[in-house]
Amino acid sequence: MKQYNRRDFLKVGGTVAATTALASCGGKQNAEVDLDPMGHHTGEVPKDKMTYRTNPKTGDRVSILGYGWMRLPTTKGGSARTADNPNNEEIDQEQVNRLCRYALDHGVNYFDTSPAYCRGQSEESLGIALEQSGYARDKYFIATKLSNFSPSQWSFEEGTKMFENSLRYLKTDYVDYLLLHSVGGGGLQNLQQRYLDNGLLQWLMEQREKGRIRNLGFSFHGDVEVYDWLLAHNDEYKWDFVQIQANYVDWNQADGRNVNGSYLYAELEKLGIPAVIMEPLLGGRLSKVPDHVVAHLKSRKPENSVASWAFRYIGSKPNVLTVLSGMTYMEHLEDNLRTYSPLEPLSEEEQQWLEGETAALIKSYPTIPCNDCKYCMPCPYGLDIPGIFVHYNKCVNKGNVPESQQAKNYEQARRAFLVGYDRSVPRLRQANHCVSCRECVPHCPQNIDIPRELQRVDQFVEKLKQGTL
């Protein structure tokens, strides 16, 4: 037996120790440890736990999560606002197909599009994605709209052509849910011109008789007089569903001229018409919130996303058929699927906490109520209206809209606002180029006085630049 002296021992011992250490390091690197055994964030999204609601008229079992086909990913990574070739962004169809397939696999079966969305590319994109998914036509519901906003489209011929085109793009011979698109803007007169005087609504009802439209409804923004008028004539039109904007902020504290969600919802409940919900998240404004609001919401459920509160809130209303969300990214889709698989309804107390305290807290930040829906675009003078408002809101939420030069972080905030402004919006598309032609105003579903808000942003920018805040 070999005799080890002290030096040999230390040598061998050292080598063994080093090898063990290396081996254990390697082990830790290779084997992934599931840090989220409860599956809150990283676990598999359940495939068979989606909550469904039943359409009382047709018996459709509709997933509580509906996929809005308006905020689609583009090949430029989501937001393509370039100066040189501004309209070269294209829908990332490959990614769209993945999202569609994933949604279907996880129980989503309601898809909402319009001939106007994404510069007119949305319907075609949905048609392709659904076809690629391999699901049979009776496994999902398609919702589209008669989006005849321009006076050039108000004739009967243009309206029917639009509907036939929708069928063609969507590669189908019937639409499950058809909506008169965004009635309320421009008042009753506008409604008359778009759908009544030209006989289009009558024609749509005939199509419903023929089964080419399975459910007929309308989406509403704006003048409540139109809403009331349409519901008062429910006996005549027999609305199968109505799409309204509702979320915990709008429920009792709607912005400006918008109508409280609670009123819209209650009117539908009275008539037994199911409600389809749009803007549950206000275009992301209820997820991109200031840190203070994040803390407020996370204090109750640290694991849950900020957005999940908005989805659970509106999903808890029993007369809601489906809640639409324009999910651009896979992580949005996964998060919403988790929230609704299955829906864990909010308690009465939680609902009041959101409608009251939380809504008031969010409204205490002076953001512009723009949801980046791009209905105002393209601006004839080339401005990037939503880009300007999104940047302004981002700065409000980050505390980069100083009130005066005495503000604590004035210099950093000023730089962040101005440098970020040039980054987000090319100079020629910034607010100082607004001429107040007001073409955009009737298009805004949120009733924002866009020129006035643009001038407000412009004056703020001028004060920052001139150092006269």
Binding site: A116, S150, P380, S436
Partner: protein
């Protein structure tokens, strides 16, 4: 005990041993700093280094900066043409180019161009007195360097900055912001390129040929440096005639066969001091050479045949390349922005680029006093042009003010809080003014063009010019014969009240209040030609 004198003595010895290294270090500091000053668009460099442009010889002479002129005179009378070796960026640039030519012993003595040198000085003087500052500026070292850097290096610098800005954006940092890189003047770029090539070839082959033949500053300072108190002196007794010094003198001013140095051309670079291994050269004030020494040396050399050296001819500046850029754009066929029939959501309207209107009088930067002052003093160094943060300044294309700054508002306007061009100008072409003075300096006045104005031609409101006028010089009035009564109501010629919404409001300019900043022209939605544009004034005035 070491005394103060001993320490001082030691110090002098150390400095003496390192003369060349000190010169190189100082030269690099000056060179890099001035180059940064010339490419910087943030205003940071100017804040710390603005003085570096102001101590340049020609700018000081043109702005009659007595203090700097006195300083440079004393410096040259004391130490020789140290200015050319340290302060002048064009000189250091030539040294840098020559440094890349690694050939040993590449120079040799050549006699001075005693006719050419005064001719260039005379020519520059004539051009200046004729009010053609830019023409003289073609051979002024600082402005030549400024143009080279401004037109050739600054765009690269900005591109590099934009790369950093996009990286910063990726990390949500605001440390860098991106800027527009655009061709401000092809003619200036062309001239700079040609001059750079000429100077580079001369420097590569003959060191300081440009400085000692063409450069008027070199000639003028040479007249002083002849009488400098301290100069490179040669001990002919110690000299072993190895010619190392002569063949490594970039100024070609050491005539070893005669053991003489032409002090009007020596730029005291100190290269020869390090080359000489026999201690025959020193930087001092005692004349070490006496006549006998020279005679002795000449006898020694008598057998040697004098080497003749090829002499690099200074190439004449190619005046023929003075391409003239004129913007003969006419105010015809102007397309107004038309609202498209909006049937789908999203997307952007294409924005047509603005085109420069034909101005009867060019606009000069605020603070430049008058067209005359600008053309007399400006050597077209491009410092103001590259420091303009609003992309308002660009080199002029006309013969009278070639390459000097010109104001135009296609890419931005002269913002009320900015006075940077007046702060950076070293020559007095743009005199320093405060932001407050700048806001009351009238450089031109706005002119309304009915044919292009949207509310005058279409049933659409606008008023963007009036909204952005910093001096409130623009009012919006109804187009036609209307007048305003009490409570702001409008009445027609028959005194009948009119609904204001049926009126078309057009801009009217109070020329007395207008400062010509171009805000109206820049924000006017009419493209490519604005419906309101600024006409320049020959002489600026306070309002």
């Amino acid at each position: 005990m070491t005394t103060f004198a001993e320490i001082l003595h030691l110090l002098i010895i150390i400095i003496y041993a390192m003369l060349r290294k000190i010169r190189v270090a100082l030269a690099l500091i000056f060179w890099v700093s001035i180059t940064w000053l010339l490419v910087d668009f943030t205003g940071t460099a100017h804040f710390y280094l603005g003085w570096m442009a102001k101590i340049q010889f020609m700018p000081a002479l043109l702005s009659l900066n007595v203090a700097v002129l006195l300083l440079l005179t004393v410096l040259t009378l004391l130490l020789g043409r140290i200015y050319c070796s340290v302060i002048c960026p064009l000189g250091v640039m030539q040294d840098a180019i020559a440094w890349f030519n690694r050939k040993k012993n590449k120079y040799s003595y050549s006699p001075a161009h005693d006719i050419m040198r005064p001719l260039f000085v005379l020519g520059a003087g004539v051009a200046l007195s004729a009010g053609l500052g830019w023409l003289a500026g073609l051979i002024f070292p600082y402005s030549t360097y400024g143009r080279i850097v401004g037109s050739m290096v600054a765009p690269l610098y900005k591109m590099g900055n934009n790369v950093l800005a996009s990286i910063a954006e990726h990390y949500d940092s605001y440390a860098f912001y991106s800027v527009d890189v655009w061709m401000k003047s092809a003619a200036t770029l062309g001239i700079s390129l040609v001059l750079w090539c000429i100077i580079a070839v001369l420097a590569w082959r003959g060191g300081r040929t440009w400085c000692n033949t063409v450069c008027p500053v070199g000639t003028l300072l040479g007249m002083l440096s002849k009488h400098a108190r301290l100069k490179v002196v040669m001990d002919a007794n110690a000299c072993k005639n190895c010619r190392k010094c002569e063949r490594n003198c970039k100024s070609a001013c050491i005539d070893l066969s005669r053991h003489e140095i032409d002090y009007s051309r020596c730029v005291v670079c100190g290269d020869c001091l390090e080359e000489c291994k026999f201690g025959a050269l020193a930087f001092g004030y005692k004349p070490m050479i006496d006549k006998e020494n020279i005679l002795y040396a000449r006898k020694q050399k008598a057998a040697e045949t004098a080497e003749t050296t090829a002499e690099t001819q200074a190439e004449k500046v190619d005046d023929g390349r003075r391409a003239v850029l004129t913007s003969a754009a006419l105010l015809a066929g102007t397309a107004l922005a038309h609202a498209q029939d909006k049937t789908t959501d999203g997307g952007f309207a294409i924005i047509e680029d603005k085109q420069k209107p034909k101005r009867k009088h060019k606009i000069t930067p605020p603070g430049s006093v008058s067209v005359r002052n600008l053309s007399e003093h400006c050597t077209a160094c491009q410092l103001c042009i590259d420091s303009c943060p609003n992309d308002v300044l660009r080199p002029n294309g006309s013969l009278k003010n070639f390459m000097q700054p010109e104001v135009s508002y296609e890419r931005g306007y002269c913002r009320p809080e900015c006075n940077r061009c007046s702060q950076v100008c070293p020559t007095g072409a743009i005199l320093p003014i405060t932001v407050e003075e700048r806001s009351s300096t009238q450089v031109g006045h706005a002119v309304w063009v009915r044919e292009n104005c949207i509310p005058a031609n279409e049933d659409k409101p606008c008023g963007n010019c009036a909204r952005h006028c910093p001096t409130g010089a623009i009012q919006m009035l109804p187009d036609g014969n209307y007048h305003q009564g009490d409570h702001g109501r409008w009445f027609d010629a028959q005194n009948q009240p009119v609904d204001w919404q049926s009126l078309h409001f057009i801009p009217v300019v109070n020329e007395e209040k207008c400062i010509g900043c171009g805000a109206c022209e820049y924000v006017c939605p009419s493209r490519p030609f604005s419906a309101i544009y600024v006409e320049g004034h020959e002489v600026q005035k306070e309002i």
